[in-house]
Amino acid sequence: MNYSVHCEKKHSVSIDRKADLNKAFGIAVDKSQYTVAIRKVQEDGKIKTLMIDHRVVPIEVERRGDGLPVRVFLKGIPFDVEIAKMASTRFRPPLPEREISGEVRANLPGQIVAIMVREGESVPAGAPLVILDAMKMENEIMAPKAGRVGKIAVSRNEVLAKGDLILEIE
């Protein structure tokens, strides 16, 4: 199977066989030939460790909502990847979502120390909405787009988990 992967530049990745645990197999990337063995997988089958050309490589793969890999971490160093084309595979990657959501959520757990807007107020994109106190720092949460402030789901001093809804820009 051939994959066209953009990572810093365009690469052509060719994987010829089944990728089973522990058996070494070859993968060609552009003109280089790599010997790869899968050394460790998660319970759901996702790869955690590879052996590539006699080196141990712990990996993390970040995926889009539809499961398509979008970022690879090699020892914590991020590489953006875009898988553009696959020969002989059932996957047809859908276009990534482009519309900006108006949902404003806590990007980290913390406590609301100030609410700077009122319901119904019109705000430009980038306007400060609330201050979230997290990890000894005050974080201004900004409007992701221009619009009207809908219902505010939080109150002052409320402690939020990551991902909790704060308010919506309509």
């Binding site: 199977m1 994959y3 992967v5 953009h6 990572c7 810093e8 530049k9 690469h11 990745v13 994987i15 089944k18 990728a19 993968i27 990337v29 552009d30 280089s32 790599y34 790869v36 899968i38 759901d44 089958g45 790869i47 955690k48 590879l50 590539i52 712990p58 793969v61 995926r63 909502g65 499961g67 398509l68 890999p69 970022r71 690879v72 090699l74 020892k75 914590g76 160093i77 991020p78 590489f79 990847v81 898988i83 696959m86 595979t89 059932r90 996957f91 990007n107 980290l108 757990p109 913390g110 120390v113 997290a134 990890m135 000894k136 720092m137 001093n157 409320e158 402690v159 990551k162 991902g163």
Partner: protein, 510 residues
């Protein structure tokens, strides 16, 4: 020595204080929040007491009244505040002293107050130390304009009682000066002991920051340690330290050590303190005195073989310094890095979460303090430091090599950390030359560049390989599942295997 010491902090510093107090033969008493109930300091304490959350807006470790009340009830004779939090809180000290309990913080002559930055600067100036040009104290908004004009931009605005970067702003833009002034004034009740006064100072572009730890006993015996330098900081918190400083010439070291001694005598410091200087275009400027134990003191301990934390507690209990100048050694080089659960590529945004894979480095001349483990939950509510990592070399070059390779071996999965950034720093020409500054790291583009410098051409091939292989294996897994379904006529297997292929909430990755 003290008999019973309460430690009013959490995390690594709590555990270190607990052990220091036990080594000194006293009873170590820990306090803790529910989520910290099985951390090292709590486990190892002779007694441990759970703090109550009495007020949603006040975290228990900052709940001065509750801690003072507990200290009184438990009949302790001293409280160790660690750093941050309560370490520089004058009210905390007063409340304890009024109950006959000593706060383990440096004491000074009654005419002075260490946490008052302006007062200390004045004292240093009178003692003949060079200081940064700046204004007097003011709290009146109307005085602001003239003050800014007098100092000129860029400038540093400092609250009288700021600490650890709180109540301090570097301002390059006139438009932001007023807002900063308002912010410091409005938050002064929360962090700055209700003291809304500020002063402005000239901003010394590209200055280097060195500090000299000092031990001084009640009898006036003084020991000034070799200096530490912190070329990599974020928001005034240290990310990398070195001791001794790479480019401080011997005559400058001798001069500053003697100035430190004079200043400490002048203001009658006793206990542990750190005297800080800026070095700008070869000239030193006194900056401030820090009065609490800091994570960086571990580097001095490793370099010199003197356990500063223990000596701090001993001296404050009234015992004498029994170490001579000649017993302190500075002929090795120590580099320390602080690893935080945060993303330097996203403006150091905290990255709390669960550590799901962890490879800790270890080895000859490699020293680490950490309480994380695979499965540890990194709390979002406190300083996200996960490890202090130090190496010692015979030369700076040896220490740099060792730290670089040790960081390569340190792998944390599940939360983002500054390990990649620190690896980039250790490989950079600027750091090797000793010319890296805090300002350089403050720029997001520079951080990105340092991390990118770790990538080789081959790495992008490997990342592409990994992405393709991950997808390839998904396909394989699906096919195997399809075959299984065809065989068994069940769809539940497929359901389980393809769960992750359905759209998930598209939250930012931890």
């Amino acid at each position: 020595m003290f008999k019973r010491v309460l430690i009013a902090n959490r995390g690594l510093i709590q555990a270190n204080c607990v052990r220091a107090v036990k080594e000194l033969g006293a009873t170590a008493i820990a306090v803790f929040e529910e989520q910290d109930r099985e951390t090292a300091g709590v486990r190892n304490a002779d007694e441990a007491y759970e703090l109550q959350t009495r007020d949603a807006s006040l975290r228990p470790y900052l709940d001065l009244e509750q801690i003072v009340g507990l200290a009184e009830k438990l009949e302790v004779d001293a409280v160790h505040p660690g750093y941050g939090f309560l370490a520089q809180n004058a009210r905390f000290a007063r409340e304890l002293e009024s109950r006959g309990i000593r706060l383990i913080a440096p004491r000074v002559d009654g005419r002075f107050n260490l946490s008052n930055k302006y007062m200390v600067k004045e004292a240093a100036q009178r003692a003949g130390l060079p200081v940064v040009r700046g204004t007097e104290l003011f709290s009146d908004r109307e005085a602001l304009d003239a003050a800014v004009k007098a100092v000129g931009l860029p400038l540093v605005m400092k609250a009288t009682h700021g600490y650890g970067g709180i109540g301090m702003r570097v301002l390059k833009d006139k438009a932001k000066v007023e807002r900063a002034f308002d912010h410091i004034q409005s938050t002064s009740h929360k962090f700055l002991m209700n003291s809304p006064e500020v002063f402005l100072e000239e901003y010394l572009q590209g200055a280097r920051h060195v500090e000299f730890p000092v031990l001084r006993d009640e009898r006036g015996r003084t020991l000034v340690f070799p200096e530490l330098e912190c070329p990599v900081q974020r928001r005034f918190q240290k990310l990398l330290i070195e001791t001794p400083a790479p480019h401080l010439e011997a005559h400058m070291r001798t001069r500053l050590q003697s100035e430190v001694r004079v200043l400490c005598e002048r203001i009658g410091v006793f206990g542990l303190a750190s005297v800080e200087f800026l070095i700008h275009e070869g000239k030193p400027y006194f900056l401030e005195i820090n009065g609490y134990i800091q994570p960086s003191h571990t580097a001095t301990t490793l370099l010199t073989g003197v356990d500063l934390l223990k000596e701090q507690i001993r001296l404050l209990s009234g015992e004498s310094l029994d170490i001579g100048e000649l017993q302190i050694r500075g002929d090795r080089h120590v580099i320390g890095t602080y690893i935080f659960a945060e993303d330097p590529l996203d403006n150091f945004a905290p990255s709390p979460g669960v550590v799901d894979r962890l490879y800790l480095p270890f080895g000859e001349e490699v020293f680490m303090q950490t309480s994380i483990f695979s499965g540890a939950n990194i709390s979002p509510f406190y300083d996200p430091m996960v490890a202090k990592l130090l190496v010692r070399g015979r030369t700076r070059n040896e220490a740099m090599l060792k730290m670089g390779i040790t960081l390569d071996e340190f792998f944390v999965e599940g939360v983002k950390t500054n390990i990649p950034l620190m690896r980039g720093v250790l490989q950079s020409e600027a750091f090797r030359e000793g010319s890296l500054t805090a300002e350089f790291i403050a720029e997001a583009d520079n951080r990105r560049q340092l991390v990118d410098s770790l990538k080789s051409g081959k790495d992008s091939e490997i990342a592409a390989l990994v992405a393709a292989l991950a997808l390839h294996r998904d396909g394989e897994t699906l096919k195997r599942m399809d075959a299984l379904v065809a065989e068994q006529g069940s769809s539940s297997v497929l359901g389980a295997a393809t769960r992750w292929l359905k759209p998930r909430k598209n939250r930012p990755r931890l």
